[in-house]
């Protein structure tokens, strides 16, 4: 294992999917490790939403493995963790959790009030107050702005009832950060936290990462600064970007093959043609296993541990239409 970095990204393995719920982690892996992945979360009110998705981010098995290999993250069995830890929680931990929820709610309230004050000030500066009738209208509009009205302490009740049941409900981690604002600003708003990290301490029972066949190609491209997103929309396994996809178009659509995997020429050519049609190059890569075992034999490595940053056994080919 390589030297561990400071931040440990918690990758929650839920139903065979690798999910990241913490926005700080999402920013960290995007900036530091070139992993942008796919946002998959919808708003609770609109589960059929298919655009502007939010947390959690779903990682490929390759990406989860890469983070574990780099020592930047760990894979947690989230359902089991939550069940066991919620059952064994003692009184002080419960109080600490409720306290942390309250502080989060206060922060949410502050943020909301500031935003409200700002927009109010903007409105006032736009429309010069000329008559009393207009002012009254504005006041009405401001009242309508408060989104959902709720009983004074509904949020706190919900938080406490979380521990009241003997069988804990599904982990609250999956919920998206919705802010429910009460009309009366003296009570603090209820929130739905995006992570349960305060409640669930990092555990030792980490799930070992998978070893997908396309991992060598993924790691090779990632090590060279390429960003990778799912490639279905361009007809391959991956879309490969020379930098953050916010700034660049993809350069390649990529497939991973086995070193001795025979592929029909027709498939290679159609992919090449498709790539050229969307101004990309079709890339395919494979890991030369024979070479790898040779290198390991020479180095005297026999315990089966994977060597990192040793990807010179990956071979890449690019296909483009020749234009003739």
């Amino acid at each position: 294992m390589m030297a561990t970095t400071e931040r440990q990204v918690r990758i929650s393995k839920i139903a065979g999917r690798y999910l990241v719920f913490d926005i700080e982690d999402v920013v960290y892996i995007r900036r530091q490790h070139g992993i942008c992945s796919v946002f998959t979360g919808t708003m609770p009110q609109n589960p059929t939403q298919n655009i502007f998705l939010g947390l959690p981010v779903e990682l490929y098995a390759e990406e989860a493995r890469l983070l574990v290999d780099k020592g930047a993250g760990y894979i947690a069995d989230d359902p089991a963790d939550h069940l066991s830890q919620l059952k064994t929680l003692d009184e002080t931990a419960r109080k600490a959790y409720i306290q942390s929820l309250k502080s989060q709610r206060r922060t949410a309230q502050q943020v909301f009030l500031e935003a409200k004050a700002q927009s109010h000030a903007k409105h006032l500066s736009k429309r010069k107050p000329s008559s009393g009738a207009k002012l009254g209208k504005e006041r009405k509009a401001a009242n309508n702005e408060s989104i959902v009205e709720e009983g004074a302490d509904g949020g706190a009740d919900a938080a406490e009832s979380l521990f009241g049941v003997t069988k804990p409900s599904p982990p609250p981690a999956a919920a998206v950060g919705t802010v429910v604002v009460t009309k009366d600003t003296t009570t603090i708003p209820a929130i739905t936290p995006t992570t349960s990290s305060v409640l669930i301490a990092p555990t030792k029972r980490n799930v070992p990462p998978e070893d997908p066949a396309s991992y060598p190609l993924y790691a090779y491209l990632n090590a060279r600064g390429y960003f990778i997103t799912p490639g279905l929309r361009f007809g391959g396994d991956y879309s490969v970007y020379p930098g953050d996809p916010f700034r660049f178009h993809a350069h390649y659509l990529a497939n991973s093959y086995g070193w001795d995997e025979k592929t029909l020429m027709l498939d290679l050519l159609t992919s090449g043609r498709l790539g050229t049609a969307v101004k990309k190059s079709f890339l395919f890569g494979a890991q030369n296993n024979n070479k790898k075992t040779n290198i390991e034999a020479e180095d005297g490595i026999s315990n089966g541990t994977k060597k990192k940053n040793n990807d010179d056994d990956v071979r890449i080919f690019c296909i483009e239409w020749a234009g003739m």
Binding site: D260, E261, M265, L268
Partner: protein
């Protein structure tokens, strides 16, 4: 010569020679290539071709940038002479693995062994010679996949060895 890796059950040498012949014909008569030659080498799985297209077939995007810079400095166009290219004859129904392609690339030099193929490489020194390097030492390995269909249509695709960014077209 060992049987082709793509079809070990059928060491049909005549079939591969015929394939090379179809492509040779197509290059010469449909695409006006000149000095097209059949190339055999003991470590190659089959006969391959090289030749000179009528106009430049491939310009690396970075070479394009270097050329435009040089043209700005000189205030004149730099003529784009055609380069010698490798051609690998294939049939559409063949199956190749990355190992097979790697063997072909490993057996070849970047520049085909033609009469004057190293002519451009002579004077690569000088202040504005960055663009010239792309025809010589900086040229990556590339090969034209000439894929023959049963109706003798030939489709041409570039294959590059390694990560080569796409052209801006």
């Amino acid at each position: 010569m060992s049987p082709p890796p793509s079809n070990p059950d059928n060491p049909g040498f005549d079939h591969l020679e015929a394939l090379a012949h179809v492509v040779l014909n197509n290059l010469q008569n449909q695409h006006d290539w000149t000095e097209t030659k059949v190339h055999t080498q003991p470590n190659l799985p089959r006969q391959i071709l090289f030749g000179l297209p009528p106009k430049r077939l491939y310009v690396h995007p970075d070479e394009q940038i270097a050329t435009i810079k040089a043209e700005k400095d000189r205030a004149e166009r730099i003529p784009q002479f055609p380069e010698w290219e490798w051609v690998l004859p294939l049939h559409l129904s063949e199956k190749w693995s990355p190992a097979d392609f790697a063997a072909v690339f490993d057996a070849l030099d970047a520049i085909p062994p033609a009469r004057d193929s190293l002519q451009d490489v002579q004077d690569v020194n000088g202040p504005d010679a960055a663009w010239k390097l792309w025809r010589g030492p900086k040229r990556g390995k590339r090969i034209l996949l000439a894929t023959v269909q049963d109706d003798s249509t030939v489709a041409y695709y570039w294959m590059h060895d390694g990560l080569v960014k796409p052209r801006q077209n």
